[in-house]
Structures are given as structure tokens and as C-alpha cells.
């Protein structure tokens, strides 16, 4: 349903992604893993149409979305849980969620969506009047996930949800992601935490220095010595 082909992205003259082709099918949970600086966030921002493509194309549900605005991309059904949460920190939890359903068609489902995300994160209902910037990192991550869900997306882009969280929170966040996925959501999960991502993903890409260097099922990637050695944090067998 989401398909990028031969995408190249650059910051000024400095290229950050070369010839990247990835796709996410309906209902899939796909991971893109890679070390810091690999270009993961660049890819997320490109898919959200915050960065222009220098080369290549992107299609969403068969429509060419290579040249559209972020507003239009969101309207097609992409929601982003950005790296570092990027909440509207001076606004309350519920105001952040309201921004999630800012678009008219998602606004119509506001009450229903609110009930759903509060069921997923009961703590957010309790804290709905709290200024989001004053919450803990884990709770902020919940707000970021809930805000994205409020837009009732077709595909969820999740950029480094584990960043800066305590290990126990990381496990919780991954559980939530799996739960959302089991509900039928198509998810593109971008992570540095390779092991945890491969645990939950159905398919994965490895990105390094702006290039895709491997693609496959998690078990297959784990069995490839050059991948396991370089990215999984243990020596090849």
C-alpha cells in the first residue's frame, strides 16, 4: 500500500539517502533498522513529505504521492509518531489529541477515537488536562502514539519509539505497537534497537549510511552472519 522506489534525498548538496526502495503491504509490520545517522529519520520525513525527493517516486494505495504536501500526505492516511515524540509541549494531553484529529474527516470521529485511545492508554484519560511537556518520557510517547491514532491513519510511521526510554518502558511501548498492529494497522517501525524490532516485525530492512543493505524476514536476517555481526551486537557464529 506504501511503495517507495529509487528514492534519493539530500540536504542541500549532501545526500542522505541513495536509491532506497521500500514497501509496506496492508496490515504488515515492517521494520527499518540501522545505526545512528543511517538516514532513518530522513526517510520518515521524506515519506511524510516534509523533505523533497531528489530522485525516485512514492505511491500510496496506487496513487502517485511523490510531489504532494505534508497536509495532503496526512489526508491520504499517513500518521507519524516522530523521533523524540515532538508533542505540542505547552498544550494539554487532550489538546494534543485534538490536533491528531484536526482534519475534518477525522474530527467527525473524535469521540470514538478518544474512547479508543483512552482504552489503550487509561493513564492519558486521567492526565488529559496535564500540560504534555511536564510528563515523563514514557507518558509523552503514549501521547505521541495516541495523537497519531486520533487521525485514524492507514499507515503508522513510528520513528525510534524507544529513544530515551527506560528499558521497562521500551518493552511496554513495543507491546503497544504489537497490539495496534494486531488490530489491523499497517506499521512502518524505524528503530536503532535492532533486536526488539526484529522480534515484532514481519519483514525488515537494514539501512546503513543512506543505503539499504539487506531485506528479509527477521529470522533470515538474523541468520546472515554479516548482518548479525554488524548490527545485532553479537559476533557472527
Amino acid at each position: 500500500m506504501l511503495r517507495l522506489e529509487g528514492v534519493e534525498i539530500a540536504y542541500g548538496d549532501a545526500p542522505a539517502l541513495f536509491d532506497v526502495s521500500v514497501h509496506v503491504d496492508r496490515g504488515e509490520l515492517v521494520a527499518i533498522v540501522g545505526p545512528n545517522g543511517a538516514g532513518k529519520t530522513t526517510l520518515v520525513n521524506a515519506i511524510a513529505r516534509l523533505l523533497p525527493f531528489r530522485k525516485g517516486s512514492m505511491h500510496f494505495q496506487g496513487t502517485d504521492v511523490t510531489k504532494i504536501s505534508p497536509q495532503a500526505m496526512g489526508a491520504h492516511g499517513i500518521a507519524v509518531i516522530p523521533e523524540g515524540r515532538r508533542l505540542f509541549t505547552q498544550m494539554t494531553v487532550e489538546e494534543n489529541l485534538d490536533m491528531g484529529c484536526y482534519r475534518r474527516n477525522s474530527r467527525a470521529f473524535r469521540d470514538q477515537s478518544l474512547a479508543e485511545v483512552y482504552a489503550l492508554f487509561p493513564i492519558l484519560r486521567e492526565r488529559r488536562h496535564q500540560i504534555s511537556g511536564t510528563m515523563s518520557g514514557g507518558q509523552q510517547q503514549m501521547v505521541a502514539i495516541a495523537r497519531a491514532l486520533m487521525s485514524r491513519p492507514e499507515v503508522l510511521l513510528i520513528d525510534e519509539p524507544s529513544l530515551g526510554l527506560a528499558p521497562i518502558m521500551v518493552s511496554q511501548v513495543f507491546e503497544i505497537i504489537q497490539k495496534i498492529h494486531r488490530g489491523g494497522m499497517s506499521i512502518l517501525l524505524i528503530e536503532q534497537n535492532v533486536n526488539k524490532s526484529l522480534d515484532v516485525a514481519e519483514r525488515a530492512y537494514v539501512l546503513d549510511c543512506g543505503r539499504l543493505i539487506a531485506e528479509g524476514a527477521p529470522s533470515e536476517l538474523r541468520s546472515r552472519p554479516e548482518i548479525a555481526g554488524a548490527y545485532l551486537g553479537h559476533a557472527s557464529p
Partner: protein
């Protein structure tokens, strides 16, 4: 000093404070949400004041009708100015220079059309005062005050409770993320600029109603209005209202208790002490 005089001076301070808030609100909103320090706000206020004079004193139009067409007119003009600011990519500091240029041009225009002589709008509407106990309450001031408070509270409500208000606050904090959720920042910026223009027109009507007009008078408002806006916290209508009232009443007390010449020092003293006590509010 008797209590009656003190009460009367508190009242007149509240009234001036309401006007400060009304005049400062548009400035505060465009500073916070557009990152534009719009000095031409003052020129717009005075242009509106002169147009009110023209319509009411010369063309004999009912003064209550004047805002009904001045506000939409100024909304459009201010939105067009914002389009130009976007087109030329003018930033916060550039905006001071550019809008000061506009101010000077408008001042020259006012002088050309209406001369530098003082003009006083004489109207039968809102004349005289009501007596409240021992206090004398001028109708015009009381009406202005009501409008100012209503406007500030209304603006607060819009920012706090509507989707557009939330979108404005979200957009100023993180435009990229806001855009993914569908916020159209250019449209919003035209709306904010237009509203600030409409507020300038509204304020201008009251300037014409309450003061004798001369073009250069617009500069005398800079100090007290900027002090009010900065103290109120940018983009906070209730903050602007409270700050305006605080400045107005303090000025009024300084005049009554010390000497009239002390009044201009008050807003700055207040502003500096507040910024020292609560830094990082801007």
C-alpha cells in the same frame, strides 16, 4: 488624598488599561503567532481613527455602523500586508523595519489628507457620564472598556477552545508536525494578521471617540502598548488584559499620588520588575 478621589483615579486607570489591552491584543497575537513585530499596527489604529472621524463627523454615518465595515476592510488590508511579508520572506527583525516604513508612510498620508491640526470628533452618541455612587463614569469610556474586556476574553476563548486556536498554538511550536496533521500555516497566518488588522480598526474607532486626533500622536502609544504586550506574555489575551489594567491603574495612581509627569515611567518600571521576577516569559 481622599478615598473618593482615589477611587475615581482607579476607575480612570481601569479604563485606560482596557484601551491598552484592546490596542495591544493584535500586536501580541501577531508577535506570537506570526513572529512579526508589527509597528504598523499603530498606523492602522490611527488610520481607522481618522476614517471613523471622516465617516461620523463629515459624512454623518452612525458611529455604531462604522466598525461594521472598517473591521472587515482592515482585515483584508492586514492580510494583504501579511501576504507581502510572506512573499518577501521577512523575518522578525526585518518586520520591525518594514512595518515602521509602513507607519511613516501612513503618517504622511494622514497629514496630507487631514493635516497635522488636532481634530475632535463631536457626536451625540455616548455623550456625558453616569453617576455611580460618588463616582462619575463616562459612557464612552465604560462602553470602550466593556468592548475591550469582551474582546480579550473572546480571543482567549477562541485560542483555548477552538480547533483553529489549538492549531495556531501547535503551529507556532512545531509547524512541521502540525502540517502532517493538516494545519495550513499560511492560511492561519492570514487569519491572524487579518484579525490583528480588525482589532486595530476596532481600537481606532475608540481612539477617535475618546481623543483629539493628530497623526504624530500614534508614536506616543508605542511605549505603553509595548510594555503591556510584553508584560502580558505574547499571544495571551488574558495576560494582555491583566497587564493593561495593571499599567493603567498604576499610571493613574502615580498621577494622582505623585505627579502627572510620573505616569510615563510607570509601564517601564512595571515591565522591568516583572521581567526580572519572571524571566523567560517572552
Amino acid at each position: 488624598m481622599n478615598a473618593n478621589l482615589l477611587a475615581q483615579s482607579a476607575l480612570s486607570g481601569l479604563f485606560s488599561g482596557g484601551l491598552y489591552a484592546l490596542l495591544g491584543l493584535g500586536l501580541s497575537l501577531s508577535w506570537r503567532f506570526l513572529r512579526i513585530i508589527n509597528l504598523s499596527h499603530f498606523a492602522m489604529i490611527f488610520l481607522a481613527a481618522y476614517l471613523t472621524y471622516q465617516c461620523t463627523a463629515i459624512w454623518k454615518i452612525n458611529p455604531y455602523l462604522v466598525p461594521l465595515f472598517l473591521i472587515p476592510l482592515f482585515f483584508v488590508v492586514a492580510a494583504l500586508q501579511q501576504l507581502a511579508i510572506i512573499r518577501f520572506g521577512i523575518d522578525e527583525f526585518g518586520s520591525i523595519v518594514a512595518t515602521f516604513g509602513v507607519t511613516i508612510v501612513v503618517e504622511a498620508l494622514l497629514q496630507l489628507i487631514w493635516s497635522a491640526d488636532f481634530l475632535r470628533l463631536e457626536t451625540d452618541h455616548l455623550k456625558g457620564s453616569m453617576v455611580l455612587g460618588s463616582l462619575l463614569v463616562p459612557w464612552a469610556d465604560a462602553f470602550m472598556f466593556m468592548c475591550a474586556v469582551t474582546t480579550c476574553v473572546g480571543a482567549w476563548g477562541l485560542l483555548r477552545f477552538t480547533y483553529i486556536g489549538k492549531a495556531l498554538r501547535a503551529n507556532v511550536e512545531n509547524p512541521a508536525i502540525a502540517s502532517i496533521f493538516g494545519v495550513q500555516s499560511r492560511r492561519l497566518s492570514l487569519l491572524v494578521a487579518g484579525s490583528a488588522g480588525g482589532l486595530a480598526a476596532f481600537g481606532g474607532v475608540f481612539i477617535a471617540l475618546l481623543f483629539a486626533l493628530t497623526p504624530s500622536q500614534m508614536y506616543s502609544w508605542f511605549g505603553v502598548i509595548f510594555a503591556t504586550v510584553i508584560m502580558g506574555g505574547l499571544g495571551s489575551p488574558l495576560g494582555v488584559l491583566v497587564a493593561g489594567l495593571l499599567v493603567g491603574v498604576s499610571e493613574s495612581f502615580a498621577m494622582a499620588l505623585v505627579a502627572p509627569s510620573w505616569a510615563p515611567i510607570v509601564p517601564f518600571t512595571l515591565m522591568v520588575s516583572l521581567l526580572t521576577l519572571r524571566p523567560g516569559r517572552i
